[in-house]
Amino acid sequence: MEETVLEIKNLSFKYQDSKKRVFEGLDFSVKKGEFICIIGPNGSGKSTLCNSLVGLIPYYFTGKWGGNVIVNGINTKDSSIAELSRQIGFVFQNPFNQLSYTAGSVAEELAFGLGNMGVPRSEMLKKVDKVAKLMRIDHIIGKNPLELSGGQVQRVAFGSTFIMEPQILVLDECTTQLDPLGSEEIFDIVKELNKSGVTVVMVDHDMERVARCADRILVIAYGKQIAIDTPEKIFSNLDMASFDVDIPDFVTISKILKERGYYKGEITIDEASAVNAVKEVLA
């Protein structure tokens, strides 16, 4: 049986100054090596859930908290955020929030977390070099992070999390500052990490990417867990428009063809299967 790395048990949270709960009754688990995407309308609690997974809630955001979050067998209530950071890496929505603001160069910024974990300097140098090349920031390695563009800072933010080699990676809409090509590059890296066994929990609004990358999709809306299932099942069974969520074009194509009786196969979630569906109809 596959190992469970994340367990969310009947989780609910209400911010201190808010009248209603952000969400309640969230209950799901994540297996090792899974790629989970969280989708839902704005204000549905996606970022709050991410903050709960890494322990920022309840430690940094005060409010009424219920239920449990268990990361690799450790209840977040019983551990400090710093201790949890050995297991789980977090890439913030705003990349500037990821910076330590003490580093004089990108290299120092990447190495900050490794230094906290006591990684020997010789190993640190190798890792910084490797991650800088991977994130294509090796040409700005000596620059001050404060002098970089938003997209460059986003790459540094990713790099500073990847370099820690976490077993679980939580990404909260973290490609907002990148152009489409840069964004795809980052997701290719995330997919590679996932293939190597890293569990990924990602919040994203690009539904085509979600459909393509996710093993399962968690839908939260109006403070409730609507569903958690494979992309095929989520997009074929749910009326996503009612949750203010776009449906990928590839899904729409096969759905319309199905509704009009031209196509009898499964709902398509990526380009290749959508092309095959159209070919089948035309044949």
Binding site: I81, A82, T102, G104, A107
Partner: protein, 261 residues
């Protein structure tokens, strides 16, 4: 290496010197100037500091800094001590409303000399030392990493605030706020900047805390390591020893001059 805070990268022996040597210089030279009873001693050290600034290729900046500090502080201290010191007995000049006394002038020159030594050494230390190197050196010397972070974060506050201020200023200009022009126009534009800058800095402090924790900053039971490396050379050790000896010699001679002779 990128420029942060006051550091001005230069290829000079002072730049390459171990940061702890410069810390030792601040305390050894500053305390020597403070203890020694004759003010000329402090000014002799200040002349040495000018030579050091020359070696560090910072003579122009150092001179500007020293002059900029000396003129207002001299006027202020001469006014307070020179004219109104209760120790004034030997009158040098009578202005009618107050009299300039030799004893007060000597006290003022003593204070100015000591301040110049402390500030001059501190200025040279900050302009010739990369902050990351400074903190790495302090941590290697046994200082807590948290205190090290505090020092680095404090030294980086100014560039961050400047960056934030320019972002807010751009946003306000885009909405039609006049930020250029005469002194009054610029002052009027500056006031509305303060609120957002201060408030966002406070929010930043919370976010910074979250970032640090998610990057393992407060993790326990681990001896942290640093990316920036500092090594103490034999010449660094020698200069450190000379500074300590200098302090001991001036402290000893101060005692003799004050209490024996």
């Amino acid at each position: 290496m990128a420029k942060t805070s006051n550091y001005i990268p230069q290829d000079s022996p002072i730049d390459r010197m171990h940061p702890m040597v410069k810390i030792y210089a601040i305390f050894c030279l500053g305390l020597s100037a403070l203890l020694f009873p004759y003010f000329l001693f402090s000014y002799a050290i200040v002349i040495v500091l000018f030579i050091v600034a020359g070696i560090a290729k910072l003579l122009k900046r150092f001179s500007k800094f020293i002059i900029g500090f000396t003129i207002p502080i001299t006027i202020m201290l001469m006014f307070i001590q020179g004219l109104y010191s209760p120790k004034n007995e030997t009158i040098l000049m009578d202005f009618g409303f107050a009299r300039l006394g030799l004893e007060g002038v000597v006290i003022a020159l003593n204070i100015i000399g000591t301040l110049l030594v402390f500030l001059g050494t501190f200025y040279l230390m900050t302009t010739t030392t990369y902050t990351g190197k400074l903190v790495a050196a302090l941590v290697q010397s046994g200082m807590s990493v948290k205190v090290g972070y505090l020092i680095l974060a404090s030294l980086n506050v100014v560039p961050q605030m400047q960056r934030r201020m320019s972002i807010i200023k751009e946003a306000q200009v885009a909405r039609g706020v006049e930020t250029e022009g005469g002194l009054l126009a610029r002052f009027k534009a500056f006031i509305p900047l303060l609120g957002p800058v201060v408030m966002s800095s406070l929010t930043d402090a919370q976010e910074r805390g979250m970032t640090l924790e998610t990057r393992g900053f407060a993790v326990t039971g681990i001896k942290p390591t640093t990316y920036v490396q500092v090594n103490e050379s034999p010449s660094d050790k020698l200069i450190k020893a000379i500074l300590i000896l200098f302090f001991l010699a001036s402290a000893g001679s101060s005692l003799v001059l004050r209490f024996v002779l």
